[in-house]
Symmetry: C2
Subunit: 330 residues, 2 copies
């Protein structure tokens, strides 16, 4: 299996990206990693490390920066690392691409290099949300800020196929994010989507409210990209905020300080559970190839985990199974 | 000061409502409470308690139930407790109304009994969000599921006036909830709103992402009612979820269990900080009177705190100051 890693994308590129790719290549010999980007800069990062047979470099001369307008930058920089890495997937020279660079650029490269699956109107980003049970999935978390009900219906099908293939869930429970449990709740978009989901070829279990998010009772939560992104960042912000408030309170007396010391292993476990770096990245669904979107601030550990996630998507035949699910819909 | 309390609204009405109103009347002799609802049922709740000079009953024969379609129920039940209580405010027989009943019914009663402020297109619900510093305010959290940019602009002005009057903030910092800090981020509604807020007579500090929610760096966060409601419930769900995950982890070994025991006071403080019952309720802004919306599941403590919040809104002349702020806009 070959995985193309965009070595130039992300706040800590190429250092953290190369380090993460190297770690994955070292541990999993059956993964062949192609580092895509500036050959000289990548070699600099590798110079003190023993050479690995399953890690090589594919040169790309340009980089799309975070602040650039994605569609325009993609057009102007045909040799950008994300375009080249995505092209390797399109040309079947790689099985997946992993990037921590501009999400917009990765989305555009996914659509124009790799191409949308037949019938898919809008590719969407799916991500993992920790719950008190297993992780659940949320789709879309940012690819589509403005949505129509028919897009959300497709997100539901894409998300359900992902849960079935990659997570091995039988008949995944799919819920619609909403502001009430009753069918008639929500804004116009969500009311219309609810009707469509009832008829979709998925196990639709109804609306879910933010309050039940962490209960872990559903496998896939469907929403538009604006709301999904707000939800994701709110969950992250609140989780970190709570731990920070708790830390302040714990440090306020000698007794609670001692309690905190004894309880430290539990805190570490919770922090780890809530840490996006443990999950690595969020797959872009609805395109004819695997493209894993990582946090801009990804460190080597996040990149390494994103590579394992890409490997899992390939191994579980996510693409083939998703295409089959979409076929059922038509 | 007179506060009308809808004794029949809420999951635990009339018991918890009457108990909360009684507690407030007992503690704050300058608040005169009018319990609105079924006289016999309310008297049942009061029968074993010493009579208070500042607590009386105003009979209303009907109740709007949670499951009823609000606008229709309001039309059909002119003698419902929420309509009657709101009418007392409209007729200046009460200074504020507090209810834990149907939010939709309270909104409709607010608009049709009390009336919108001049120029206000859509009243909105403002609520308190705990942060690592002071609480911040979020508007709208559910009155308007479908919004236009001009509504959001008014929410910003209403929220700013509220922070200035009730919280005594000078030049409150108002931010727009969004999925990125840059001006061009967001969906169409939020991009347009950003432009309007830059021109509005408020201290607009730009976009805020969910990740910074609990940092407490802004006073007011503006969003549409759908997104705001998702945000609020997600924050609540994640906060409770984290504490629940932490509890499970803490119980997993003898050492962490002991740590948890010692650290218990800190946990209690955090739980209290995150508990909506501490704040009582969320004011409905943009109408010519004070109407405090409480959680359907409010207990007596929540109702008591909502009464104190109503009292604070009256005392700080929230209505007069908001009207003055709206005047500045025109």
């Amino acid at each position: 299996m070959k995985i193309a890693v965009d070595a130039m994308g992300g706040d800590f590129a190429p250092m953290e990206i190369v380090a993460g790719a190297y770690a994955a290549a070292q541990k999993q010999k059956d993964i062949f990693i192609i580092l895509v980007g500036d050959k000289i800069k990548i070699e600099e990062q590798l110079q003190n490390k023993p050479q690995l047979a399953n890690l090589n470099i594919f040169h790309a001369s340009q980089v799309i920066e975070m602040h650039e307008e994605a569609a325009l930058a993609y057009k102007q920089k045909k040799d950008s690392s994300i375009a080249v890495a995505s092209r390797l997937v399109a040309e079947h020279k790689a099985d997946a691409v992993v990037s921590a660079g501009s999400t917009g650029a990765q989305l555009v490269a996914g659509i124009f290099e790799i191409g949308r699956m037949k019938g898919v109107k809008r590719p969407a980003i799916i991500t993992y949300l920790p719950t008190i049970k297993d992780d659940c999935l949320v789709i879309d978390v940012g690819a589509n800020a403005d949505c129509k009900a028919e897009y959300l219906q497709q997100f539901a099908i894409l998300g359900s196929a992902y849960a079935a293939s990659v997570l091995g869930k039988e008949n995944p429970a799919v819920a619609l994010l909403n502001i009430g449990s009753e069918e008639e709740k929500g804004n116009e978009l969500y009311k219309e989507t609810h009707k469509l989901l009832k008829k979709a070829p998925i196990n639709f279990v109804g609306n879910i409210e933010g309050r039940q998010l962490l209960a872990g009772d559903v496998d896939v939560i469907v929403c538009d990209g604006f709301t999904g992104n707000v939800l994701l960042k709110t969950a992250e912000g609140v989780a970190m905020g709570i731990l920070s408030i708790l830390k302040t309170e714990l440090m306020s007396s000698a007794l609670t300080k001692m309690g905190a010391m004894l309880a430290a292993p539990a805190f570490r476990k919770v922090k780890k559970k809530m840490d996006y770096k443990e999950r690595g990245g969020a797959p872009l669904l609805g395109i004819n190839g695997i493209s894993i979107i990582c946090h801009g601030s990804s460190n080597s550990q996040a990149i390494e985990n994103a590579i394992y996630l890409a490997e899992k998507c390939v191994r579980t035949k996510m693409i083939e199974k998703t295409i089959a699910s979409l076929g059922k819909e038509a």
